[in-house]
């Protein structure tokens, strides 16, 4: 009998509805898959007891026809979402002992919709990284390998565990967070579908903050339809988050299959870069072709300030992070090293509790906010941010959606870029501007490079127009015939 983990989210949902199998059967297979994929190091905390207990309740609900939209579906959750009574670490030594007494709004919404927590997923420490190699709990291994089946590859980051678990078919979907590409880049590296919703679509309450003005939760799934279903249950207006939107939440699933005829697709010319690989260019061209065939009009557009997006991001995000991470001082919770002197206690606790990348960004952030440097860095970056946003809002007067590659390259080898932060930062060059402008964007697996690794296309939408993104993503998905991973080498 094939494992029930082969079923995607909507297939599992339909199977449960039709009573083809029980929630318990589904959960047991996923627990089994989770335990037998430990080589990938995707999970920091496995919660099989919670999952099995929840499965009983879900089976009762199916029996009584009181099942909810995601009843009985197992999900992995990035370890940035606070989960009540379950270890939540941000993949940091600093929070390696932290058990929140509260549940984040997004996960709470999911549990209220019947979904089941399978475990907490590994990520870059405090989401700072693009390869999941900065985690205190070790790197996550990409389930994909090159055709030669040799080197272990990174899954991307920061939502590396979220993407790897979905690619490995552990859980029917997962939650990630995206501050500069942390959902879309790992989705692209693992052949999964990852959406960063519009800023404000999902509540940030209970999500451990990296950069508050950029952070946004989103779903990673095996296909576009699953993604739309999961997003519907994640978002809500939350009075506990002032920046959460009051906009009505549409039925995202119903936007799949909608015609895109006559809609305009913008191709931002600044995303075309010198030295871009032929494979990326070819994938991009294919994407244009597929959308054109479906009746859309392709228009070249310009987003002149694109080149400033990355430097702007690496000022604003660290600035906010340096302040957001000040609360980890060893006084009230988390890692703590005591001393007879309060300043020494701070120094010991924070030196030992944070990893190098986090320290690097705290120092950058502290520097750019310091008196004498504020105007030259932070204030200027805020002005540039407005210009970038303006580029997008003006371009969206002419087009309905934009199409770009998700990343400049496919997954790289473990340790390949660890000592070169700048080259690591360049991984986010196509994703970062979208967070700066607060827009929704989705990465869809579209092709494989010559060594057999997945590549993703990115669709960028107007504010709060995730529906159009899903309509377009669905067409790319259908046109690309992307073959998902079939070699579960880690089981051997």
């Amino acid at each position: 009998m094939t494992s029930l983990t082969e079923l995607c989210l909507y297939e599992a949902r339909d199977g449960l509805k039709n009573k083809s199998f029980s929630t318990k059967d589904l959960i047991l297979d996923h627990i089994d898959a989770m335990e037998s994929s430990r080589k990938l190091n995707a999970f920091i905390t496995e919660t099989p007891e919670i999952a099995l207990k929840s499965a009983d309740l879900s089976d009762d609900n199916y029996a009584n026809n009181t099942n909810r939209p995601l009843e009985g579906l197992p999900l992995g959750v990035k370890d940035m979402f606070c989960t009540k009574g379950v270890l939540t670490t941000a993949s940091s030594k600093m929070l390696s002992n932290f058990i929140p007494p509260y549940e984040s709004t997004v996960t709470d919404n999911l549990w209220n919709n019947g979904a089941i927590l399978l475990g907490k997923l590994n990520n870059d420490e405090f989401t700072m990284g693009s390869s999941n190699e900065t985690s205190f709990f070790g790197s996550v291994i990409n389930p994909w390998k090159k055709n030669d089946k040799q080197a272990e590859l990174v899954p991307g980051g920061s939502s590396g565990g979220s993407a790897a678990s979905v690619a490995a078919k552990v859980g029917v979907g997962s939650l990630g967070t995206d501050t500069g590409g942390s959902i879309r880049q790992p989705a692209s590296f693992t052949g999964t579908v990852g959406l960063k919703p519009t800023y404000g679509r999902c509540s940030r309450w209970g999500i451990i903050a990296f950069a508050s003005s950029l952070d946004q939760a989103g779903p990673i799934t095996r296909n576009v339809k699953d993604n739309a279903i999961l997003l519907n249950s994640m978002c809500s207006h939350d009075p506990k988050d002032t920046t959460s939107s009051l906009k009505e939440i549409p039925n995202f699933e119903s936007s799949l299959g909608k015609s895109i005829k006559g809609l305009k697709v913008g191709i931002p010319r600044e995303f075309f870069q010198d030295g871009m690989s032929d494979e990326i260019i070819k994938m991009w061209d294919n994407g244009k072709e597929w959308l054109k065939n479906a009746g859309a009009e392709i228009i070249e557009i310009s987003l002149p300030n694109t080149k400033y997006a990355l430097p702007c991001y690496y000022i604003i995000a660290p600035a906010e992070a340096s302040s957001n991470l000040a609360r980890y001082d060893g006084v009230r919770f988390g890692h703590s090293i005591s001393s007879n002197d309060i300043n020494e206690m701070y120094e010991l606790t924070r030196s030992d509790g944070f990893g190098d990348e986090v320290k690097r960004r705290i120092m950058i952030g502290t520097y750019v906010l310091s008196s004498g440097y504020y105007d030259a860095y932070y204030l200027k970056a805020q002005k540039v941010r407005s210009l970038i946003s303006k580029d997008y809002s003006e371009a969206f007067n002419k087009v309905d959606v934009m199409l770009t590659p998700s990343t400049p390259n496919s997954a790289f080898e473990l340790n390949e870029k660890c000592d070169d932060p700048l080259s690591m930062y360049l991984n986010d060059v196509f994703t970062v501007p979208i967070n700066i402008a607060g827009l929704p964007a989705i990465s869809i697996p579209s092709s494989k490079d010559k060594v057999g690794l997945p590549l993703g296309l990115q669709l960028i939408g107007k504010p709060f127009d995730e529906e159009t993104l899903y309509s377009f993503a669905n067409i790319i998905e259908e046109s690309s015939n992307f073959e998902s991973l079939d070699d579960k080498w880690w089981l051997k």
Binding site: F81, C82, T88, A90, L95, F98, P100, P101, Y102, S104, R204, W205, G206, I207, I208, A209, A211, S212, S213, P239, K240, D241, T242, T243, A319, E320, S322, S323, L325, A326, R327, D329, V331, R332, F333, N340, I342, N343, Y346, T366, L369, S370, S371, Y374, Y378
Partner: protein, 487 residues
């Protein structure tokens, strides 16, 4: 009116002028904190009024309490200040155990309230205008306790996140008296507005005093900021000490260093806390968790409509409607409760007499027993009745003081006190005449001496009063004695 330059401090090298600016931290009257739903009640068990937001737990977000915003706008209007229709919250970053988030949410470049002014009341009816630079909203920190354990410090987060208004004055004050008058007036205005209870002992009103000295007409000198001055009295002491310290230093040829200093109430001195070089770089930046505050004209006008009568206006009204002197009215309105007491007491009574009795007998009695006017055993209604008894001749002024003492003791109604103690004034001419006759009969020597010493008349009056236990109507007594003795 021109303020005369008596505020100058005389040093060895001549006269010096003191320049004072004050930053007041006023705790807003509200049920819950500025960014969380926790209660603000004072004196609760340690760490019991603390939400996850107040404790700076991971993933927690602030949500603005609209009541606190309205209170700040109301205070701004009460200070005749410009309300900014667009203002933003900033983070002020520093590490301290009683600051759980590692930053204080405050307002830096764009505060909720801009420039305003306060008229302060000085001695002899002199008034002076003190300009307000700004008022902004911010959250309070928790409280560090260093005296609970020999080697540990404790932190109480009950106060963490409580809403404060920081009110910054311009350096418009030039003496301890003016600074004290400013604090009194500010406190009084906020009590009228019910936006801050002004309780300095409990810390709901705290003042940081900036002091510098200069030769009259010179540029501003280097200032020192004095923290921890938590009473009106200490404000006076701190300024006088600090000004003298600065003058002495300069006259010795030394330079004033910009510092933050701490007032020691036991010694009546200020001492250095940190120098400008040691000052924090707070790395202010807009808080990305909070949207800017934006107001419409309707919102501001709506709050303006709820403003109560403020002390300066009330004083004018008391002068006009109750026929009081501006000085007396000023005394009454300087404390909202006193003015309220006065208005109730004089509702059906002689207002001038009521005022005299409040400022005289009532104040001195309350002072002696260390009570506020709200704790007065004599209710304003009963004081009004007492005044009426005097006014309509039912009792004499002298008896009234006895009645008042009984009222203080028992809290009883003066009418029943007078009745049950038979204290009514004797004005019956027949009764008085017979008493006077008796006194004349039994004191022939005194009657004889009266021709040479007209002053002896007072002695006769006294005798009549003694005979009637003070109840005789003095006017009738005088008339009758004159008739009988000065033929």
């Amino acid at each position: 009116m021109v303020v005369k330059m008596s505020n100058l401090v005389t040093g060895k090298t001549g006269d010096w002028e003191i320049v004072i600016g004050i930053e007041v931290h006023a705790q807003i009257i509200s049920q819950s904190k500025l960014f969380s739903g926790s209660s603000t009640s004072f004196g609760s068990e340690h760490n019991t009024q603390v939400s996850f937001v107040d404790a700076g737990m991971p993933g927690m977000l602030p949500v603005i309490n609209s009541v606190c915003v309205e209170q700040a706008v109301k205070t701004g209007l009460g200070l005749n200040a410009k309300i900014n229709k667009f203002s933003i919250f900033d983070r002020k970053n520093y590490f301290y155990p009683d600051l759980p988030q590692g930053y204080q949410i405050s307002q830096f470049e764009q505060p909720i309230v801009g420039e305003g002014k306060v008229v302060i009341d000085l001695e002899k009816g002199v008034e002076k205008e003190v300009r307000i630079e700004r008022l902004h909203l911010e959250q309070d920190a928790g409280k560090s306790m260093h005296d609970q354990h020999p080697s540990y410090s404790y932190v109480d987060l009950n106060r963490s996140g409580v809403a404060l208004m920081e009110i910054v004055s311009m350096p418009d004050m030039s003496s301890a008296e003016e600074a004290q008058a400013y604090i009194k007036k500010l406190r009084n205005i906020m009590k009228y507005l019910q936006t801050c209870d002004g309780n300095m002992e409990e810390g709901s009103l705290r003042a940081d005093i900036n002091v510098s000295v200069r030769k009259p007409g010179d540029e501003l000198g280097t200032r020192c900021e004095i923290k921890n001055v938590n009473s009106i009295k200490f404000i006076g002491q701190a300024i006088e000490y600090e000004a003298k310290r600065q003058v002495d230093l300069i006259e010795k040829g030394e330079v004033i260093k910009q510092q933050t200093r701490l007032f020691d109430p036991k010694k009546g001195q200020t001492r250095s806390m940190r120098s400008k070089e040691e000052a924090h770089d707070y790395r202010y930046f807009p808080d990305p968790d909070l949207l800017p505050l934006t107001f419409t004209d309707e919102f501001i006008e709506g709050i303006r409509k709820t403003l109560p009568e403020l002390p300066d206006i009330r004083r004018k009204r008391l002068v006009e409607d109750f026929d009081l002197s501006p000085y007396d009215a000023g005394i009454l309105v300087s404390d909202k409760e006193t003015a309220d007491f006065f208005e109730i007491a004089s509702k059906d009574s002689n207002s001038k007499l009521v005022c005299n009795w409040i400022v005289g007998e009532l104040f001195s009695t309350l002072n002696k027993s260390n009570k506020t006017i709200q704790e007065s055993p004599v209710t304003p209604e009963n004081l009004g009745k007492l005044i009426n008894l005097i006014d309509d001749g039912t009792i004499t002024g002298r008896i009234a003081k006895d009645v008042f003492e009984i009222m203080i003791e028992s809290g009883d109604n003066p009418v029943s006190i007078v009745d049950s103690n038979d204290m009514r004034q004797v004005s019956d001419e027949g009764e008085l005449e017979s008493i006077i006759e008796k006194i004349i009969q039994s004191n022939p020597d005194q009657v004889k001496s009266l021709e040479e010493k007209p002053n002896l008349m007072g002695w006769f009056v006294g005798q009549v009063m003694k005979e009637t236990q003070g109840k005789a109507n003095p006017k009738s007594v005088n008339e009758l004695l004159n008739k009988k003795l000065l033929k």
